[in-house]
């Protein structure tokens, strides 16, 4: 018998789209909640249109993108037009038998639908409502729109990343869609514990942008406690803890340390880099030994102040050494000597070359109706009694209309067929996919 899942019996109505919201609900589903994604084909989730992730040889379409697939695994999906009276009524019925409502629209949409928290509470008194707007639903700029990059910019996260005297490097992806999604799941789970203890639901009003600010604590306190100027010479310090020649202050990535950098490795291709960080004089001596105690590594570098003073020279010498070997060879040598080092791993490296992720079953195989044999990202934690699981591929759009509407909400088969004819369950202007026709038979 398979092990039980931790969130068995929890039902989630998922109005989310793009990345942050769907990623939140994805984890609730992966933990065993029954997630019903509510969609409408004329307002297609943008991840269903992601041009980078349609595999060659697969017919493009809303059910064919790899990015949607992984972001929406372990959900069921229905297509309902909430702009029709009938559709909205069914959505309300679904909410009345659900535990969590989660959405990441801009702040006014749910109110416009008549589904703000006060109304949701009337439908289901102990409902947990998680809203995930960019600025939240409260505060003068609640109506401002953000996507990951803008939220990161506004939160201060972007400012923390890059080389001094260059434009901000920021984050090369929507970090606050990933992490914003985490907070959507965190919010729902926290509220679920509160409901287990008290029987009461609540509205959790999350802000994607503010999520980022909560991840800048030491920089925040350096401002409010010390009045330190955030826009200062030598900040951000690249991959280092202190930029050469800049004032020695802590720049918020743990203790001040040197070496602390990315170095070229052989054969010097695009992702042939590794990082080394020596957090003590002791660790530095281990590195000197590993490098064969070269002549340049003299007593000037014995202490952290000396290594900071001569950081450019030191990093140049280290890189001549690292460039003589591959990044994994370097990692293994350093680790064997107790030195903190790791290869810079690309997506390909993680999927194909990382023995740790392979050992831990990070990429779980499962068939997808359009993509064929596919890999889905596993949970990064292992619960001993009720593990997370990759159980179902993502829904094709409207795939589960019949089972959700008929079996769960008691719609008769005739009503279902009518709904397809009159634009409630599928746009009258669009052809139906074969799997829909089949399900209606």
């Amino acid at each position: 018998m398979p092990l039980p899942t931790p969130l068995q019996g929890v039902r989630v109505v998922d109005f989310t789209w793009v990345r942050a919201g769907p990623w939140a609900a994805r984890w609730l589903g992966t933990l065993g909640a029954e997630v019903v994604k509510v969609e409408w084909p004329l307002n297609l989730d943008t991840l269903r249109q992601n041009r980078f992730t349609v595999p060659p040889g697969v017919e493009p379409g809303p059910n064919s993108t790899g990015q949607f697939a992984d972001t929406n695994a372990n959900k069921r999906g229905i297509s309902v037009n909430t702009r029709t009276e009938e559709g909205l009524e069914l959505v309300k019925q679904l909410i009345s038998v659900s535990d969590v409502v989660i959405e990441n629209f801009s702040s006014r949409i749910m109110q416009r639908w008549g589904l703000g928290y006060e109304q949701l509470k009337k439908i289901r008194p102990d409902i947990i409502y998680v809203s995930m707007a960019g600025f939240g639903h409260t505060g003068r700029h609640h109506w401002y729109g953000t996507m990951g990059p803008a939220a990161q910019a506004l939160s201060g996260l972007t400012h923390l990343s890059g080389l001094p005297s260059a434009p901000p490097a920021g984050w090369g992806w929507s970090y606050l869609d990933d992490t914003g999604g985490m907070y959507g799941a965190i919010s729902a789970l926290t509220a679920l514990r509160h409901r287990s203890a008290t029987g009461k639901g609540q509205h959790v009003d999350l802000s994607q942008m503010i999520t980022g600010i909560t991840l800048t604590g030491p920089a925040f306190l350096d401002k409010t406690v010390n009045g330190r100027k955030a826009r200062r010479e030598g900040f951000p310090p690249g991959n280092r803890t202190v930029w050469p020649g800049a004032e020695v202050v802590n720049n918020y990535r743990g203790p001040i340390a040197a070496p602390h950098n990315a170095y070229r490795t052989a054969p010097e291709g695009y992702n042939d880099w590794a990082v080394i960080a020596c957090l003590s004089d002791d660790e530095w001596q281990k590195l000197v030994e590993l490098m064969g105690s070269p002549k340049w590594a003299d007593s000037r570098f014995d202490t952290i102040d000396g290594r900071l003073e001569h950081q450019e020279e030191m990093d140049g010498h280290i890189e001549k050494w690292t460039a003589t070997m591959g990044k994994y060879e370097l990692t293994e040598k350093c680790q064997a000597a107790g030195i903190r080092a790791m290869a810079v791993q690309s997506s390909q490296d993680r999927v194909d070359n990382d023995p740790q992720l392979r050992h831990r079953d990070m990429y779980v195989p499962m068939d997808h109706p359009m993509l064929g044999p596919w890999k889905f990202q596993n949970a990064p934690f292992k619960l001993s009694k009720s593990p997370a699981r990759i159980a179902n591929p993502p829904p094709m759009i409207g795939q589960h209309n019949r089972e959700v509407l008929e079996d769960l909400l008691g719609v008769t088969h005739e009503e279902l067929l009518d709904g397809y004819e009159n634009g409630v369950f599928w746009p009258t202007t669009m052809d139906r996919y074969p799997y829909i026709e089949e399900a209606l038979r």
């Binding site: 939240g136 901000p168 992806w173 789970l189």
Partner: protein
Amino acid sequence: MTSANNGNQQDSADIGGARPADLSLPGALDGLRVLEVCDEKGQFCGKLMADNGADLIKIEPPGGEACRNFGPFMDDVPHRERSLSFWHYNTSKRGITLNLETPQGQDVFKRLAATADIVLESRKPGYLESLGLGYATLSADNPGLIMCSLTPYGQTGPWRDYVSSDITQMAGGGQMASSGYDEIDVPNPPPIAPGGGNSWHIGAHYAYIGIMAALYYRFLSGEGQYIDASIHEACALTTEGAIAIYLSTGDVVQRHTGRHAAPDMSPAIQFPTGDGGWLNTTRSGTNLTPARLKLLAEWFDQSGMADDLADERYQDPAVIAEENDHIVQVMKNFFMNSTLEDAFHGGQQRDFPWGAIRSMDEIVGDAHLTDREFFKEVEHPELGRTFTYPGPAALFNGSPWRISRRAPLIGEHNSEILQGELGLTNSQMLLYAEGGVI
């Protein structure tokens, strides 16, 4: 830099967003006791629980955790009680000191674990077990106990004993392979590890999710369990589309300045403003519809900067596409003659989802954050001072989030917990102190 507080308020009508729950109510995790044996890797997960009302007891080695030595320090005076990093990550916790390598320390730990719902630890894999403090022992008489080990690479596998730091986790996890620069901005650019200790945040978020899931399962079944959480896996999960792109097409993403790493080149989206700031436009001037271009032209025209964009011929998507470079140039000129905050608010008020690249200089005191009661005054009674801390990401309207106290001083609650709760005598406390147990 102009003030961040000049946003338009015309459209700020209350839409029934959440108001923070009354502080007289219990927090969401009220009634749960957590023991935390964590350094920089796990302390943030502890904070997430403590600020939501858990009774969290932080167990440090005598003299305190080593991460009390992380700067910056209050008034730039280095001291283990003045680390702002430690302050931030340890709010709402109580703290005791305990040497877990002594028999008395182990006994005290076991007695505390018998009262706990959750044990959160980030020591080396196998360390607590080697002291007789593994999950099997601790849960023997407390079957509802949930124990989470959050470690760099997890409890099993070829890398489980690898040593790490924030930047090595960002290297292995893929953050660095996605972040950096275009050649045009930085010649021969290295991959960049984003700052701020975020590998620890990423690990802590997933550990928290695992713990909350286990709590719900305990609510259903009465059973506790053990959770083996890995920072490496958490980071490997946190590069958005990079893995999906590789799995779909075999393409490996390339790094681009301030925007998504992608298999191909994409237009720049960050533009300098006249006051030395940078505006992130999420997407560049492309994707403009005629209606949106008209909004831009009217806005720019107010300062005579619209160039020819008000011309009727731009009300044609084909012309917009054709003239993209020119349109972007007009936008750039406008931004260079604007302040960062004016460009940001002006764009948002016209439904452009742009973001000012703000630093703490602009964020602290921001009006929208003030509306959300984000700035929390936290008293440090031993200093006679009060400092402003960051508040929560979300407003919970049914269970208050709060910083119930500043981070514990070293061994601050030894007497309260060891004597008050466990009943250690004065002479035991003396012997334990002199013997290096506490």
